[in-house]
Symmetry: C2
């Protein structure tokens, strides 16, 4: 087994990458690692960290794609960049795998330029583990590779996710759910309505139906599919949530019961929708909210703002 690594990719590289290699080789006694980057610098780092093993090869290159470089241009201008070198090693079967924490866009573009899609796969994709109550994980995909998706693309993601969870986590027949705004068939936007119909007809995918945002952590499925636009926003949001809560922010900021209801905006009148599980405090707050909306003349202000817009055009 030979694993190639982009030594200088990542904000904390090359120190973090070299240290990671050192730790890995202590724990895995078979694999070889191919370090891609400037040879002299790598040898100096290895000496500094006391790494000497027969299971490391250095693949010398002096070109790198920066974190902010435009991928397509960078590939044209720097044909020997570390990402191209690594992906080519995989293509030529000189490496079994390639890892880079460098420019994500460059990895995605490079992978599609240098490696072929597997036969039958319309759209390669990337997913992420999504934490579940009780310590389990679902695989959410796509999380950012395919912005505008056709229904059949999401069927492909469902299959790729199923294979991934079966192979990597020994789940015989992973449950697949479609991320949507309601559980019932017929809910959703044009895309998800069509995906629902297509997934229902797949005999080789265990499709259990729609999953709502509220159930994303409730162990309902092992594979959750969505388009890459939604998945990317959800994933980054989950990362932001982690940042919030590790700072021990007051959890009550997410307690929507406290907020009272939501006015429908844009209609001729104040109509407030309350949460189904509203308690007496929520009802009280909705009444105060209604009074405030009327006192502050929200409707009249909307009328006047849209009248101005109308005139401006």
């Amino acid at each position: 087994m030979r694993i190639a690594l982009d030594v200088f990719g990542g904000d904390l590289a090359p120190q973090a990458s070299i240290e990671g290699v050192s730790l890995f080789l202590q724990e895995n006694k078979q694999a070889h690692v191919l370090l891609i980057g400037y040879e002299d610098a790598i040898q100096k780092l290895m000496a500094e960290h006391g790494i000497s093993t027969t299971r490391i090869d250095i693949i010398h290159t002096t070109e790198y794609i920066g974190m902010d470089e435009q991928p397509v241009q960078a590939f044209q201008q720097k044909p020997k960049n570390s990402i191209s070198v690594g992906l080519s090693l995989v293509k030529e079967r000189k490496a079994d795998a390639f890892i880079s924490a460098g420019n994500t866009g460059a990895m995605l573009v490079g992978a599609s330029l240098i490696l072929s899609p597997i036969k039958g796969v319309q759209r390669p994709t990337i997913g992420t583990y999504y934490p579940q109550k009780g310590g389990a994980f679902a695989y959410l995909l796509d999380v950012g590779l395919n912005m505008d998706c056709k229904p059949e693309h999401l069927v492909g993601f469902a299959q790729l996710g199923s294979t991934y969870m079966r192979v990597m986590h020994h789940i015989g027949s992973p449950r697949v759910a479609l991320l949507n705004v309601g559980q019932e068939r017929g809910k959703g936007n044009q895309l998800t309505k069509k995906v629902y119909e297509l997934l229902s007809r797949q005999n080789d995918i265990y499709f259990i139906g729609n999953i709502e945002g509220r159930d994303l952590h409730n162990q309902i499925a092992e594979v959750i599919v969505c388009d890459g636009f939604l998945g990317n926003i959800l994933l980054k949001h989950a990362e932001a949530i982690y940042d919030l809560f590790k700072d021990r922010i007051d959890v009550n900021i997410f307690n929507y019961e406290l907020y009272g209801g939501t006015p429908i905006l844009g209609i001729e009148g104040v109509a407030i929708i309350g949460h189904g599980i509203s308690n007496r405090t929520a009802f009280k707050n909705m009444l105060h909210k209604a009074a405030e909306l009327v006192e502050k003349k929200l409707i009249e202000n909307i009328q006047s703002d849209f009248e101005k817009k109308y005139v401006l055009r």
Copy 2:
């Protein structure tokens, strides 16, 4: 000021709604409340809770739309349902506002049937407060009323959100951000690319550009716009997060640094993308992950699964 309330709407109603009215009338010394529902039952409840005030009127009706009823059908079969009665009071200016915690779909359908859109508003919308670091709030909209949106609909949401935050929170010129997968102009799906261009040309909206999922709580904007499909999933997700964290779940389940990288699925070879801020543990985990993907023959399994799909068709 006269506020109408759907007394029997909501899981905890009518007890919670009546108690909410009682608390509200103690705190607000001017407003009148119109209680919509079965008169005898309401009077019994008021007596039980010791409520007697000259500022309450009862609007008698015996028809209700249940939480699980299909809205359009329900409106046809029950013309005197409490939601229609309340919205009609607003339309006829017998009430200044109407509140219901009952069937949300029925409120939305009813509002569009009974109340007109404000001139210039193409699509009425609903938003929600979205908690920010430091205790502030942004207004996120649409959160579920409009599933498939045209670019100009999101421009309308931006205006409605701006007016709302100006009027209700005294923010002179609310910053408006477009929810997207990257900050730069040109990022996103077909919808957000067009919305970006349209919002850039609005002189009466203070458009600050795209906001990513990771910045949703970072006080970057007071108004955040997206289509109702995405907004609904985000909102329900935020509610689920609250449920997770109030149970004091280990925050580390959202620590994506621990997971190592993500393989690109569907290409002929193992290529793993690491997080830009990968530390040595992340690098070590990516190397283990690469070894595992190779050992478990993920690529070969995907090839075989998609070959079967190909044959099945």
